[in-house]
Symmetry: C3
Subunit: 194 residues, 3 copies
């Protein structure tokens, strides 16, 4: 099967993890990475930085698909701005799901979201646009993760929890069932949310 | 292969997760759900609530297998009463194991226990009757989980630990090796047990 | 395919977990276990203790491969001494990786290290000699684990972290990104490292 080409937007550490996921998924061929002008020609795991943000309006003539590979720690603004810009230009932002992740057929994941290795998304849950569900995270039954959230490595979002938009949920966080995490929250790694 | 039919006892949130596991296992066909009379006709992930607890004595004439899909938080009484009632009537309560879970061939799991997605049960361990080993939980080598326990999502039961009967071990709990968790314990999510 | 024979050095609880991993890997046939003289003839999961440490100089004439199956809690000295002795005698200490683990093709794992069930080692990371990466541990992108470390069950080593040599990182520990854990550290189970 001929694979479709995809652009990676952002060449840092998170980009490496996403490359590994895209390779595992075996659906897309990585066309190259878009980053700052001064990084042009550098490589990440063998893939070249072929363009900068200024070139996106031209790149749409050549490539249909893009995935945001900028990470998200304290601030969601960069990933939100990139998402809006890529959509405005006309890129499609497919769901990228690791071949090692499990998404229940009774769950829904929306565009621009990346589901990393060993993630489990259980029945009845909904993941909205432009999220990172990072390695080994668990989204239990009936949970809702709203737009632009990063559920970090190993975090456990228990049944029926609602994570409002633009949240950072730290690594190995665990939540009680059926709670709500408010918009723009920064939840510290390893903490218990009740 | 013709799949055998199974009844699900309890139609709440945990039921959704168990449905996902049964579908993944591909051994049983879900005959329907048993819940309160006032819920008759309602559906859970497309499966109908076809009977109430009062009908169980009749249902045994039609169905051989049942699985308890009521969850367990503070109190194990409901699951214990259901288990005893179902056994008395004559139902078989098979072990339900997700196709994504791993149970060592050197481990043993007893009837009525459900092993959810991404669980790992290591060599030399024993899980007794009527337990929930929930998503992504880890039961290490030589651990013993006694009857009617719920080992919640992401919990880590380390090597040689004994969990006595009727315990709730919260989400993402981690235990030291070779400790004993006493009968009827409620272990808070995210805590360290030493 | 004819499997090559391997000796297991140490017959305790960790040995059981490693046996399960070797069986899953299906590359080596377990020739037997080496432990104390007074344990000769005892069995672990059906494999016999066939020799004691004093016999290693003779066993090299019969077996090429060995794996250290002694666990590591407070002290790394035993595993370091065993590693050096086995190397001196001439044994090869292959990487043992569970069929359920994932090691990115962009990662590197060195000799004598055992990668247990459900471990995830992500792109750009490096695991040096004689480590235990225990069940369900996560080593994120660009992390470096130096010699003789035990990363315990369910621990999360986040992106770019350096764990210096001879460390014990407890079960379910979570680290911030890009920190360094100093040589000979003992990191308590369930703790957050920032």
């Amino acid at each position: 099967m001929l694979k479709e080409k995809i652009l990676l937007i952002g060449g840092g550490g998170h980009c490496k993890s996403v490359i590994d996921v895209i390779e595992s998924q075996n659906r897309f061929e990585i066309a190259g990475i878009v980053d700052k002008k001064e990084c042009l020609g550098q490589k990440v795991l063998g893939y070249e930085i072929i363009a900068s943000d200024d070139d996106l309006e031209d790149l749409i003539n050549k490539y249909k698909y893009a995935v945001i590979t900028v990470g998200q720690l304290k601030n969601t603004d960069v990933r939100i701005a990139l998402f809006e810009n890529l959509k405005r230009i006309g890129f499609e932002l497919p769901v990228i799901t690791s071949s090692r992740a499990y998404v229940s057929k009774h769950a829904q994941v929306n565009e621009g979201t990346v589901v990393m290795h060993d993630v489990l998304i259980n029945a009845g849950s909904l993941i909205k646009e432009n999220c990172i569900i990072n390695s080994k995270a668990l989204i239990e039954h009936d949970a809702i993760i709203n737009e632009n959230c990063h559920i970090s490595t190993g975090a456990v979002i228990n049944g029926g929890v609602i994570v409002e938009k633009n949240c950072f949920v730290g690594s190995n966080v665990v939540t009680k069932q059926y709670i709500t995490i408010k918009e723009n929250s920064f939840i510290k790694a390893g903490s218990l949310q009740v």
